[in-house]
């Protein structure tokens, strides 16, 4: 029996939105190579919506599938909607993750959130600069 669901395999074999965004509006990096997984998310925001989401991931099959799924779930959503994406909802969309992979590889939502926080921080700073 394969350890991964068909959905995970699909996102692993054909990951969506791989890459970097030049001059992103926000960037978030989580994890480290010691635990095995590291993810960087890049976002482009327009009218409070995630116009583009891209990622780069170092990690196992689950980590790559999670990143791909998060990017797909987030694209087009408002920032508020995107911030509601959780590891649980990502795992559900992927039709489940192996138990031991749930915590270590399921960092996508966290990386996306960090990118959004980065964007919000930059916006605040820019506003502050204008005043």
């Amino acid at each position: 029996m394969p350890i991964y669901s068909e959905k995970v395999m699909d996102h692993f074999m054909n990951p969506r939105n791989v890459g970097e965004i030049e001059n992103p509006d926000g960037m978030g990096e989580v994890g480290n190579p010691i635990c095995g997984d590291m993810m960087t998310f890049f976002i482009k925001v327009k009218d409070n919506r995630l116009e583009d989401v891209k990622f780069k991931t170092f990690g196992c099959g689950a980590a790559i599938a999670v990143s791909s799924m998060v990017s797909e779930m987030a694209k087009g959503k408002t920032l508020e909607e995107a911030m509601k994406i959780t590891p649980r909802s990502v795992a559900d969309e992927l039709e489940g993750l192996p138990k031991q992979k749930f915590h270590c590889s399921n960092l996508g939502a966290q990386a996306l959130n960090k990118a959004i926080q980065d964007y919000l921080g930059r916006k605040k700073k820019a506003k502050g600069g204008k005043q």
Partner: protein
């Protein structure tokens, strides 16, 4: 699609001759070797033939071979049984940092039971320095266990030299030869060891059977209590079909070892040479000369092993990896960390282990399918992006 099995370090296929040797004992010859009727006699005779075949493989006396349920059981039996039997002399044991978990975790259990454990380091090739073993020996050292060969990086340890050192002490010397026996020449008398573990599924025998050889005169505490099977040292009705298979596999391994080694070494060396030539930033792990004939182990920089393994699997190639993600414990292989690799590099571990059915076209196929896989994962990797940014214009 082409199917290429390159995971013989994990388990080998059963040879047809071995299967044939097992079949009667899965059928009409079902007797229990402890019984003194016709059925029992037949089973016992087969078991004793197998014992002789295994003894011959390792240059041992027949009655010194104890059948077990696996290599892991042999190691548990040896570490716990030998240490406990000598504990009136002392409670210190020595093992290398790259032992199989069946040795390391048994040693940890002994620690909980009041023993002290010293771990001997290895160099960057995974080689134990016999002098380090000497330095770790104490008056109360009762057991030293150093593996014959490491299946993950392929390194063959200087067992004979270590045995010379342990002979000068009170300690009993056990070697885990699970990766070595049946693959390279192993001679217990020449090596000078006191106990040795082996397993059938490492040399085209069945799974679920192993053996522990203990030199006559060395005391060991029984591992399983019960009846008087295996002369009271390992109770439980014997797995006769598996033992028959182990014996046949041992006989075949001994007879064809030279030819097998020649073939495996050629396959191994081709991959060891050509893979780093085909892919940038690949490190060969293990010793360049003193290594198992079928072992070609690498670490590929900037990417992770499980992802490579899965993409190789999608191309019909079966390999294994010491990355954290492929282990249930989610830790990078202790062997790769012990040889001094940084964690990120250890995550990119790939182990190719050849078998006697592999051919040169299998190596060519790996060299064809792996580079695009590595390339694809590197395009996804933030570590690779970082590396290329930092080295832009550098070359």
């Amino acid at each position: 699609m082409r199917k290429v099995y390159l995971d013989h370090a994990t388990t080998t296929p059963l040879l047809p001759e071995v299967r044939e040797a097992m079949l009667p004992y899965l059928g009409e010859a079902f007797g229990n070797p402890s019984c003194i009727h016709e059925w029992g006699d037949a089973a016992r005779e087969t078991m004793e033939t197998a014992r002789t075949q295994v003894a011959q493989l390792i240059g041992a006396n027949t009655d010194e071979v104890i059948f077990t349920g696996s290599g892991t059981e042999s190691n548990n039996f040896a570490i716990k049984g030998l240490a406990l039997a000598q504990q009136n002399k002392g409670k210190h044991i020595v093992a290398s940092a790259i032992e199989h978990f069946s040795v390391l975790h048994s040693a940890k259990t002994l620690e909980k039971w009041g023993f002290e454990l010293s771990l001997v380091p290895v160099d960057k090739y995974g080689m134990v320095d016999p002098e380090d073993v000497r330095k770790s020996l104490r008056k109360d050292t009762v057991l030293v266990s150093i593996m014959h060969a490491n299946s993950e990086v392929g390194t063959i340890e200087p067992i004979q030299e270590i045995a010379k050192i342990t002979k000068e002490s009170n300690a009993v010397f056990h070697t885990d030869a699970v990766a070595a026996a049946g693959t390279i020449p192993v001679d217990v008398k020449g090596l000078g060891v006191d106990a040795l573990s082996l397993a059938g599924n490492q040399f085209y025998g069945p799974k679920g059977v192993g053996a522990l050889w203990v030199r006559k005169g060395v005391r060991i505490i029984p591992f399983l209590d019960g009846g008087v099977q295996e002369r009271g040292r390992r109770a439980g009705t014997e797995n006769v079909p598996a033992i028959a298979g182990l014996g046949k596999a041992a006989e075949l391994a001994e007879a064809s070892m030279t030819a097998r080694t020649e073939h495996l070494t050629q396959l191994r060396d081709r991959l060891l040479t050509e893979l780093p030539a085909a892919i940038d930033h690949v490190v060969v792990t293990g010793h360049p000369q003193h290594r198992l004939p079928g072992n070609a182990s690498f670490c590929v920089e900037f990417i992770e092993g499980e992802a490579m393994l899965m993409l190789l699997n999608s191309q019909g190639v079966a390999v294994t990896s010491g990355s954290a993600c492929t282990s249930r414990a989610l830790k990078a292989s202790h062997v790769l960390i012990a040889i001094g690799l940084p964690h990120a590099l250890a995550q990119g571990s790939l182990l190719f282990s050849f078998g006697i059915d592999n051919i040169f076209q299998d190596v060519d196929y790996v060299l064809e399918v792996l580079p695009p896989i590595v390339d694809r994962l590197r395009q996804m990797s933030p570590l690779y992006a970082k590396f290329t940014r930092e080295n832009k214009g550098g070359k």
